[in-house]
Amino acid sequence: MSNYFLLFFGTVLVNNFVLVKFLGLCPFMGVSNKVETAVGMSFATTFVLTLTAALSYIVNTYLLIPLDLHYLQTLSFILVIAVVVQFTEMVMHKTSPTLYRLLGIFLPLITTNCAILGLALLNINENHDFVESIIYGFGAGIGFSLVLVLFSSMRERLAASDVPLPFKGSAIAMITAGLMSLAFMGFTGLIK
């Protein structure tokens, strides 16, 4: 049990997908202008990450490994991600229109989020079993959400503050992201 707990917090803080592994930087810069959209994107991504982790584990263990097709991992995971996203969108549209309106625009964007493909491949690299894969996926999602929401609230403040002209806009956002990444490196060694 403590094993799972460590894995979860290790993924959220120490091996944060965005700031330490540098995955999913596109939505990190792209949808962090407003806290509301950042929260929407966080929920959608966490959801898709967790589902993908489970499904890609199943595909890998019961289809690719028995047939000795390791080299098809990337290809089949892309397929899995596309299907998960599409399926989630359809089900959500039917069952919860409110949630669909909140997440609707972000769902298709997630298909091309490299954090998700990265997660599926890392799960295999690190030989996670089924439960570990799901916890890793969920932890990655929570880590992504944490960083995205923190960053977007910083950017909202930056938008209102008096930034010197050469640093205005994306430049100061990049610097902020770099400083955040440095700060997250402070978590290294938290979990052995």
Partner: protein, 185 residues
């Protein structure tokens, strides 16, 4: 060697088929019917996508009307569209927002046009003809008078002129019985 390739192809095809079947099934099972009234209202709007109603296009405005917004925000559609919309929604016709201007269409002063194509890109109904460094001109029948081409013109050579009234475009109003809408004036 050959068999392993065939196995790989078959495995991937099977995976794709399963996923395809799943998506196909769920697209039928979880089909969401769009509100039919939005489609109807959208069909009535002039599809200029000019944004003068304050929404990013005709469809969002149709959506807003179905949720109870006013029907009088579409200048290109004018009085006729407003009445159609009001009738479909079962509400009283409303006065158009702002005073009703005479119907204007864009006119390019062709000797001043430098052929920059900026107005062509701005036009929502493709009513401007021309090519780079070639003089542009407005197709009178297509122009809806939305004025979106006026602002981008770098030489300010686009004027909004009233349509010349001919027997063809004169509004005869044969179907309409004039009644007073606003009684409390």
């Amino acid at each position: 060697m050959m068999t392993s390739i065939i196995i790989a192809v078959l495995a991937l095809a099977a995976l794709a088929a399963v996923f395809g079947a799943l998506l196909g099934y769920s697209s039928i099972r979880f089909k969401v019917k769009a509100d039919p009234i939005v489609e109807e209202l959208d069909a009535m709007l002039p599809q200029t996508q000019c944004g003068q109603c304050g929404y990013p296009g005709c469809k969002p405005y149709a959506q807003a009307i179905s949720e109870g917004d006013d029907v009088n925000k579409c200048p290109p559609g004018g009085d006729a569209v407003m009445r159609q919309l009001a009738e479909r929604m079962g509400i009283e016709p409303q006065e158009l927002e702002g005073e009703e201007k005479p119907k204007l269409i864009a006119f390019i002063r062709e000797d001043e046009c430098i052929g920059c194509t900026k107005c062509i890109q701005a036009c929502p109904v493709d009513a401007i003809m021309g090519a780079t460094r070639q003089m542009h001109t407005v197709i009178t029948d297509e122009c809806t008078g939305c004025e979106l081409c006026v602002a981008p013109c770098p030489t300010d050579c686009i004027d909004m002129l009233p349509i010349e009234i001919t027997t063809k475009n004169w509004q005869w109003n044969l179907q309409r019985i004039p009644t007073q809408i606003n009684t409390e004036l």
